[in-house]
């Protein structure tokens, strides 16, 4: 009996210990892989730096983004360069406004456009693709033919059209970007859904009498999150690029608001007068944002892609 008691206690102790060993979820696994990826971690730090710059920058700015420095605007090439004495850390823009404040404002705009554009694409594309793939049959056929048609529309032209014909507002910009950006997403999600829907747990849910919409939202969508997160991260820089492209043509965000694309466009136009900082600063923030987002997206893909395991 004593012997048995000992054994029982030992088993009990082991069970207690065993409980403490936790299983690793897919996301913890992915997080560990992501942290090991030096480029991705570095890119995350850079991106956080850019975010901090847009949040904390205004507290350091000596000028607001709308004030015009009348004293120096006559000789921007000579006196408007970046300097600490004048309080214009990044110099002046082409009409004498503080480029430091303008760059903060532009970075904020570009990030907002990128994130909201990507969100719109993710929400519409994911729901559309998941429904299309899950319902299948003629509905799937119809929905995917519609995507085929929309993909054939030259989207840059449609955005330009929208911006020219309707008033140039943030709202129209998002509509234009949103119309075109969800198409690839819906295709990717549909493919994933097709491979998911014949798995046992979906069958079990169906056997239990769960409705199709609940199955899509509760069982299919959570399993799609990996693909969606990776694609969304890669979509943000694309949205920023599209917006800056439109701003470059002078059709994007309107004054007094500005975006990195608009600042780059202005800076590129005035470079012949020797004001290189007007191109350099926005360009630096543009490149930092885009490249770090690229690296983060790539790191996430490596971390979440089941192929590489």
């Amino acid at each position: 009996m004593v012997h048995d008691m000992d054994r029982n206690t030992r088993i009990a102790e082991r069970l207690v210990e065993a409980e403490q060993i936790k299983g690793r979820s897919l996301w913890q696994d992915a997080a560990a892989r992501f942290v090991r990826n030096k480029a991705a971690v570095g890119a995350t730090i850079v991106l956080i730096g850019v975010l901090l710059f847009t949040i904390l920058g205004p507290y350091f700015a000596q000028w607001t983004n709308e004030e015009i420095d009348w004293g120096r605007m006559g000789d921007i090439a000579g006196q408007g360069g970046p300097s600490f004495e004048t309080g214009h850390f990044f110099g002046l823009d082409e009409v004498g406004r503080d480029l430091f404040a303008r760059t903060i404002q532009a970075t904020q705009t570009s990030l907002i456009v990128g994130v909201i554009g990507a969100l719109v694409a993710v929400i519409i594309g994911t729901l559309y693709g998941a429904v299309s793939g899950f319902v299948g049959g003629w509905v799937d056929n119809l929905m995917m033919r519609a995507v085929d048609i929309l993909i054939a529309v030259p989207y840059m032209f449609i955005i330009i059209l929208l911006m020219v014909m309707f008033e140039r507002s943030f709202f129209m910009l998002f509509v234009g970007i949103g119309i075109v950006s969800w198409l690839d997403m819906s295709r990717i999600v549909r493919g994933q859904t097709l491979s998911l829907k014949n798995r046992e747990f979906i069958e079990a849910a169906q056997a239990a009498g769960v409705g199709w919409f609940t199955i899509v939202t509760r069982h299919i969508l959570p399993n799609l999150m990996g693909v969606v997160v990776v694609y969304a991260t890669l979509l943000v820089p694309q949205m920023i690029l599209v917006e800056s492209f439109i701003s470059f043509l002078g059709l994007g965000v309107q004054e007094p608001n500005t975006s990195l694309g608009a600042l780059i466009s202005k800076g590129a136009g005035t470079i012949i007068y020797g004001t290189i900082w007007q191109l350099a600063w926005p360009l630096v923030f543009f490149l930092l944002t885009i490249i770090s987002l690229f690296f983060i997206g790539d790191g996430l893909r490596d971390a979440l892609d089941p192929k590489d395991r």
Partner: protein, 307 residues
């Protein structure tokens, strides 16, 4: 195979028609028009002008006439702004320019991109690989509207080697910078796709078998690895070609090449609907055609695809 192509063509026709209808209604829905100016025209004059261009008819009649004239005579109608030119003239003048440097950029981007990608994959995890990956990342982040001014600063302002804009009948000095500006980011995309797909192929079982048989590396790459590794690249190239022509709006504007992109933006600003519609339809057609071509090449390359 022939059956598959025919079926795809049959789907392409309604797609194109729907595209035209969508664009037409979009233009119709837009507020303002080519004849709304700051000083309003007398109503009688406006009515006369609208009657001349058939704008006084019901929208469905207008659209029907438009479709019929495109399908029967390939006529996209007169320009609303330029009195003596019609849409066909404007496109016929601009499109060869765009097509010329678009095609050159496409060929260069494909050749350089694929070679760079294959090279990086073969030298995986060496300095060369890292340089290639870093370069492609930066090149993708540098969109052509940034490339264009940088090129002009270097080659026109600093070195004075190349003219900063214009076309001049396509003399090579005028083509160089548009081609570089346009092809760089696509080159980077192609290189990245090639690299990752080549890496995947090189790690697959049949390549290991080929190595085990003692085949020379050159044969393995050219005879065994190249074809499967090119599949994702091919599916990218079709859309990329169209994107290179449509994406050239910026190039057209910046270098004033006189290409279609320039006439598109000008017509959009002037609300010259006829030209806008014509250009949009032209590019829509190209997109559909090249998607079709890509799918056909893909089906031909990949024995696993059923058609």
């Amino acid at each position: 195979m022939l059956n598959y192509i025919l079926r795809r063509l049959l789907i392409a026709i309604p797609t194109l028609l729907i595209l035209i209808v969508i664009c037409f209604f979009l233009m119709y829905a837009a507020p303002g028009g080519p004849f709304t100016s700051e000083r309003p025209l007398p109503p009688q004059v406006l009515a006369n002008i609208q009657a001349k261009y058939g704008l006084d008819q019901p929208i469905l009649v207008q659209m029907w006439n438009y479709l019929v004239s495109i399908l029967t005579q390939f006529d996209f109608g007169p320009s609303f702004i330029y009195k003596d030119r019609d849409v066909n003239d404007i496109i016929a003048q601009g499109f060869p320019v765009t097509l010329t440097y678009g095609t050159i950029s496409f060929v260069i981007a494909t050749l350089v991109g694929v070679s760079l990608g294959v090279l990086a994959a073969l030298k995986h995890n060496t300095a060369l690989d890292y340089i290639a990956v870093g370069a492609t990342f930066s090149a993708q982040a540098l969109p052509n509207f940034v490339m264009a001014p940088i090129l002009v600063i270097i080659f026109t302002w600093q070195l004075g080697w190349l003219p900063g804009g214009g076309w001049n009948g396509g003399q090579w000095q005028y083509v160089v910078m548009p081609v570089i500006a346009l092809s760089t980011s696509y080159m980077a995309s192609i290189a990245r796709i090639t690299r990752s797909s080549m890496l995947e192929t090189l790690h697959s079982n049949f390549i290991r078998t080929a190595k085990a048989k003692g085949l020379p590396t050159r044969t393995i790459i050219w005879r065994h690895a190249m074809k499967p590794a090119m599949m994702p690249v091919v599916s990218y190239l079709g859309p990329a070609f169209v994107a290179m022509i449509t994406g050239s709006v910026v190039i057209d504007m910046y270098f004033s090449t006189g290409g279609v992109g320039q006439s598109f933006v000008n017509s959009a600003l002037n609300r010259d609907y006829a030209v806008m519609l014509g250009v949009t339809i032209l590019y829509g057609t190209l997109t559909i055609l090249f998607n079709l071509l890509t799918d056909v090449v893909y089906a031909w390359l990949d024995p696993k695809i059923r058609y």
